[in-house]
């Protein structure tokens, strides 16, 4: 399995090249599913931002949705057999968990903004 320039083979994928259990492929699919859910969550944040006239929230959600979609296509840590150097599974996992926290904070901000408006009515 040859890596593209600037990328390196995932040693686990190399070791399991002939795995009948298709572990690398299953892991790659798990990453793709997670990316799709994250992009959908970011779109939901963009929608609620637009709905509540919170421009910053709407733009942040839209940018995150596009960014996550691009990352999901560009960085697949298993299955394709290579990934950008410096990006170990741990780094990607930490980044994905941090993205989820960020979306949660944006969602909570939207909730508080909606709550403030509801109480002001």
């Amino acid at each position: 399995m040859s890596a593209r320039p600037g990328r390196r083979p995932d040693p686990r994928v190399v070791a399991l090249a002939d795995d009948p259990g298709l572990q690398p492929q299953r892991t790659a699919q798990a990453w793709q599913r997670t990316g799709a859910v994250a992009a959908t969550g970011a779109l939901a944040v963009a929608f609620v931002g637009a709905r509540l006239d919170l421009v910053v929230l709407g733009v942040a959600g839209a940018v995150l949705a596009v960014g996550v979609a691009v990352m999901t296509v560009w960085v697949i840590p298993a299955g394709r057999g290579d990934r950008p150097a410096r990006l170990s599974a741990a780094v990607l996992l930490a980044g994905t968990a941090a993205l989820s926290v960020l979306l949660a904070v944006l969602g909570a901000v939207a909730g508080v903004a909606s709550l403030t408006r509801a109480l002001g009515r």
């Binding site: 390196r8 040693p11 686990r12 994928v13 070791a15 399991l16 795995d19 259990g21 572990q23 690398p24 299953r26 892991t27 798990a30 990453w31 599913r33 997670t34 859910v37 994250a38 959908t40 969550g41 939901a44 944040v45 929608f47 609620v48 709905r51 509540l52 298993a78 170990s88 599974a89 741990a90 780094v91 996992l93 930490a94 994905t96 968990a97 941090a98 989820s100 926290v101 979306l103 949660a104 904070v105 969602g107 909570a108 939207a110 909730g111 508080v112 909606s114 709550l115 408006r117 509801a118 109480l119």
Partner: protein, 138 residues
């Protein structure tokens, strides 16, 4: 497969520079299947977290679209915060499990499962109570 040396980062002859060292500096390189299974479990937890966040955002959207009471916004904020906690727990859980796998120790129990089950059950009961009160009020 499982007896590959620790310096697996750039191949058997290269030093292992993967981070965090608190995980990759422990024990020996495990069977890659165990490591990948741990990664998939962590991703499943992250997806649970994202689903909670998306649910919270959806409730906020619904409340603003249908002009529903402020109570639902409080629920939405709570759900988002639970989602954030699950995301943090997924990362911590991945670290603990990966360390245990590398050290050949028994796997630790899931940190957040019990709390999450209770939180979801309580939220479901609260929402059911809210729905019943709306129907009874109408």
């Amino acid at each position: 497969m499982g007896d590959e040396p620790s310096g697996v980062d750039g191949g058997p002859d290269q030093p292992d520079t993967r981070r965090p060292r608190s995980v990759y500096g422990v024990g020996t390189e495990p069977d890659p299947r165990f490591s990948l299974a741990n990664e998939r479990t962590a991703l499943a937890w992250v997806r649970t977290s994202l689903a909670l966040v998306a649910g919270g955002v959806a409730v906020t959207s619904l409340a603003s679209l249908a002009d529903l009471p402020a109570f639902l916004d409080v629920v939405a904020v709570l759900v988002c915060l639970i989602g954030a906690a699950v995301a943090v727990a997924s990362w911590l859980s991945w670290q603990r499990t990966e360390r245990a796998i590398r050290a050949g120790r028994p796997l630790p129990p899931p940190i957040v499962l019990r709390v999450l089950v209770v939180a979801v059950a309580v939220l479901a009961l609260v929402m059911a109570g809210y729905a019943i009160s709306r129907v009874a009020g109408a």
